[in-house]
Amino acid sequence: MTHAVALPTPVSIPVRQILPYALFAGIISLLALYFVGAEQGALAIFDGTYVHELVHDARHLLGFPCH
């Protein structure tokens, strides 16, 4: 442990550095939320009920309308 140093302002990350990640990782992350929250419920990308049944209890308990 070094001695305490005066607290400087955190260096913010330039927006143009964040944007490519925000697009790529943001879309994949939103897709994960969508599959747990709504797929094969009100909306459907895939036919059937497998996804709906698999994540059924998580969907209810995370507060999403299920059926």
Binding site: L7, V11, S29, G41, E53, L61
Partner: protein, 267 residues
Amino acid sequence: MPLTDTEAAPATLTVRSLLVWGLLAGLVGGLLAFGFASAFGEPSVDKAIAIEESAGAEHTHGTDPAEHHHDETAPAEEEEVSRAFQSTGGLGIGAVAYGLGLGGLFSLAFAFAYGRIGPLTPRTTALTLAGLGYVSVVLVPFLAYPANPPAVGKPETIGDRTALFFGMIGISLVLVIAAVILAKRLTPRIGGWWATVSTAIGYLVAVTVVAKLLPSFQEVPEGFPGNVLWDFRVASLGTSAVLWAGIGLVFAALLHRGLTKLQPQAV
């Protein structure tokens, strides 16, 4: 304030390391939420399903989601995923997948917020963000459209309820971001305290008005036990609270560790 750190010069962070920390935090948060939901959520889900089945109003856990009409003479539903797995492995997979997605988005939000939302230490920024996220993405939408256990909710309104629930999350999120930006702009003029208090009140008034203007649904079946509904809803809020707290705390810890490691080069 006890939350103040004495850590020194934070070096420039990369979005990539933030994303990795966010995903790790999401994984841990998802697992913790899974544990909480198993212990405190599943009992009320089981009771609700038992009520649903005994009432003959079996909802289609195993048949086509579009076909939600309940025919009492219909043959027993076919399940692709057994109830036993839905309530254990399925719950775990759902909670972890959701945690990872949320952790990823959380780290991106942190990348934007870091160094931009006032004189907060990195760890306090992470926890503030998790708190704002829980209030705006979980609590406020929940108060407008509370979570429902199986057997509650009419199948014919699933489309409207889903659209309005997501709409409420979107509106609440936009309003909370607007409030944070406004608070930052007001701070030089009226000071941090009043800027925070006035924009927080502004946000709460705005979401209350929006929630009152949007249609609501009263679809609890007659005779459905109030205590099961209450237990389920408290467990639902708790599951999300554990998830968001887990993400915020684990992310803060990883961030702190990362920044401390960077220290020798930065100074």
